[in-house]
């Protein structure tokens, strides 16, 4: 088997907390991403699922090099990303593009669609000939399902619907022909009827262009149609990782079970017993000793408060970090 496109090993991104003062060193750190390891294969979609504040967006920004990891390594297409700086990093980044949550916010309101999609080419000084650039912009728009592209080139984002805007964002990512797409909650701000379009588009890109996708979401319900594997994150850690069908049908970590149970199923006949966790995600500056999930875990045992379970393999490609998983 070929080596994965992305190999993340023991990645850790910490943020200092409190006012950064000349006199005081920060006393505490937010463990935004804490010892995370995973792979993404060529043409594979990995869904990263977790509640807000679990570190999933920080993980994406760290992959992109917009946040510096504290420790750990990111191997992207055979290149160690954490060691890169300046122009090398910029060049490597070309193969890794991001799509953001809110298409109303992630597009500059004063730029035309054509300019937005061409921007990555200009920034990377690619396709400098005007005709070449235009051809690539058109191709990207078409690939993102905005057909015919001429209709959209001169429009401003405010003249487009939410779904079209998200397609523009996708086109701007595709124009560099990246090998990895980081999609941070790409559909959570969209109406249900439009949501399906975007998810279908991502699934199609994965299939036809062999683009790898990291699909970040808080909603397990949206990932099934596109993700090959699911990674569940809690407080900076991956607590369960496995093939989509395995995780959905045989969740092994109590947190995954709880998340699955509260994900609304679109049919009243599928109403099920919900495992509702008490309270909210704890303060990531004061992590509990032992298992991070223990204080909210419905099946926690004394052992869980004492020792932190490692991510252990259960069956082929399915791992969970639970003493009793």
């Amino acid at each position: 088997m070929a080596s994965p496109l992305v190999a993340v090993r023991n990645l850790r991104t910490l943020f200092p907390v409190g006012a950064h003062s000349v006199f005081r060193a920060p006393a505490t750190f937010v463990h935004a991403v804490d010892d995370v390891t995973f792979d993404i294969d060529e043409g594979e979609a990995l869904a990263l699922v977790g509640e807000s504040g679990c570190g999933k967006s920080t993980l994406a920004l760290t992959l992109l090099g917009l946040e510096r990891p504290t420790t750990g390594s990111i191997d992207f297409a055979g290149q160690e990303m954490t060691a890169l700086k300046g122009s090398e990093l910029k060049a490597a980044r070309r193969n890794m593009q991001m799509i953001f949550q809110d298409p109303y916010e992630s597009l500059n309101p004063l730029m035309r669609v054509g300019e937005i999609v061409a921007e990555p080419l200009i920034v990377h000084k690619l396709a400098n000939a005007r005709s070449d650039r235009e051809a690539r912009v058109r191709a990207a728009l078409e690939a993102a399902g905005l057909k015919p592209p001429e209709v959209y080139l001169e429009r401003y984002p405010y003249q487009l619907s939410g779904g079209q805007r998200q397609r523009v964002a996708i086109a701007a990512a595709l124009v560099l022909e990246p090998r990895l797409l980081l999609a941070d909650e790409p559909v959570s701000m969209l109406d249900v009827s439009i949501r399906a379009e975007i998810i279908n588009l991502l699934a199609e890109l994965k299939q036809t262009r062999k683009i790898s996708i990291l699909f970040i979401t808080h909603d397990l319900g949206t990932v099934t149609a596109v993700a090959d594997r699911i990674a569940v994150m809690y407080l900076g850690r991956i607590v369960e990782l496995g093939r989509t069908a395995d995780v959905l049908t045989q969740p092994r970590h109590p947190y995954t079970k709880a998340l699955l149970s509260v994900t609304p199923a679109p049919n009243p006949r599928l109403r099920k017993e919900r495992i509702i966790l008490k309270g909210e995600t704890p303060d990531p500056t004061r992590l509990p000793g032992g298992c991070r999930f223990a204080p909210r875990c419905p099946v926690a045992q004394p052992l869980c408060l004492a020792s932190d379970p490692p991510l252990t393999a259960l069956e082929t490609g399915h791992t969970a970090a639970c003493h009793f998983g």
């Binding site: 509640e51 807000s52 619907s161 779904g163 109406d191 249900v192 009827s193 439009i194 949501r195 399906a196 379009e197 998810i199 279908n200 699934a203 808080h218 909603d219 397990l220 319900g221 949206t222 099934t224 149609a225 989509t244 069908a245 959905l248 709880a258 998340l259 509260v262 994900t263 609304p264 199923a265 679109p266 049919n267 009243p268 006949r269 599928l270 109403r271 919900r274 509702i276 966790l277 909210e280 995600t281």
Partner: protein
């Protein structure tokens, strides 16, 4: 001509408590007027009944008029809003006939509201307990200070907030707690009906589950009637008894929740359901609805869904279908169900 004598639908199969509706809305229509622009028909001829302890889901995409409908029930429309037709009866009182002072006295004591985004719906510079107490005292002038405090504590406890947080400010609460505090505030005067406008939007799934759980407990224990405005069909499937699907300001389908999900009759409801991943075939391609909802100030001449409807006929472009009454208390406004319709008694003639 728009007919006024409309909707008489009561379901014998409903639980006996629901026999007499707490709230009954009849062909309610709301326009937004901002001359010189044409009036936007945000809500048109919407009717429904709500029984004690019942949860009605009001679903639709953004801009379909569901929030306008919710505000119209409270008579809290923005100044451009006009209720141009219909009736809202709350326990035999016609709300639309009341003068403003009388309406103000019924607000919150009879019909309360949980707003979208509790961060903005709570005054940032007043303690949360204070804002709940204000609602209590507004509708019960005789209640003493100590009794008010006791009641506030009781309410906070009911929604799972420790009483010692009474004197804290909204910014000291987490998102989920603010929404609970809003619910506690809504319960302050024991209202018969609560209108919850997107109460879980922008909250995480787990917090959402906590809030939904709280709402269903309240409906069970207090017999509260709840109108749940949402864009998420999943939430409706979780806790609602009946569902009213709105599209472009009109009722597309109005049915018991099981029928709406398992035997939807309106193509829009069907399309919405197909846009969800099928639990049996999770990796199958999703069905999307091409196009966008109509602008309320430029509605198509015929059926409002026709431009996006996969089954649209010639007729749909010219005339809007009535809301047809179907067996088992199901209603749909589509020409396709005309033949199976029991009658047109519950229908609204747009032609």
């Amino acid at each position: 001509m728009r007919t006024k004598d409309v909707t008489a639908h009561v379901d014998e199969k409903m639980p006996p408590t629901a026999a007499k509706p707490v709230l009954s809305v009849c062909s309610l229509s709301v326009d937004y007027v901002a001359p010189p622009k044409p009036a936007a028909h945000a809500v048109q001829d919407v009717s429904f009944d709500l029984g004690r302890g019942e949860v009605l889901g009001l679903v639709g995409e953004s801009g379909c008029g569901k929030s306008t409908l919710a505000l119209a029930l409270m008579r809290l429309l923005p100044p451009a809003g006009r209720i141009v037709n219909g009736s809202v009866r709350l326990q035999d009182i016609e709300l639309l006939d009341l003068d403003e002072a009388r309406m103000a006295s019924l607000r919150w004591s009879q019909i309360a509201m949980v707003f979208q985004g509790a961060m903005n719906a709570l005054n940032p510079v007043r303690a949360v307990g204070d804002q709940i107490a204000e609602a209590i005292r507004q509708h019960d002038r005789t209640i003493g200070k100590a009794a008010t405090v006791r009641r506030v504590d009781e309410l906070l406890e009911l929604v799972g907030i420790a009483a010692n947080r009474r004197t804290q400010y909204p910014f000291q609460y987490s998102g989920g707690m603010r929404q609970r505090a809003m619910i506690a505030m809504a319960l302050a005067c024991n209202p018969a009906v609560i209108v919850a406008d997107e109460p879980t939007t922008a909250l995480d799934v787990m917090i959402q589950a906590q809030i939904l759980d709280l709402l269903s407990r309240l409906r069970r224990e207090l017999g509260l009637a709840i109108i749940l405005v949402t864009h998420d069909l999943g939430i409706v499937a979780e806790i609602c008894d009946r569902v009213l699907v709105m599209y472009g300001g009109v009722t597309a389908e109005y049915a018991p929740v099981d029928l709406a999900f398992n035997a939807p009759r309106h193509p829009y409801t069907q399309a919405l359901l197909h846009a969800f991943p099928d639990p049996d075939h999770p990796q199958a391609k999703l069905n999307s609805i091409p196009g966008a909802p109509p602008r309320l100030d430029a509605l198509p001449p015929g059926c409002r869904f026709a431009p996006r409807c996969p089954q649209a006929m010639e007729r749909c472009q010219q005339a809007a279908p009535a809301l047809y009454a179907l067996p088992d208390d199901q209603f749909a406004s589509c020409f396709l169900v005309e033949d199976t319709a029991e009658d047109r008694r519950g229908s609204l003639d747009h032609g």
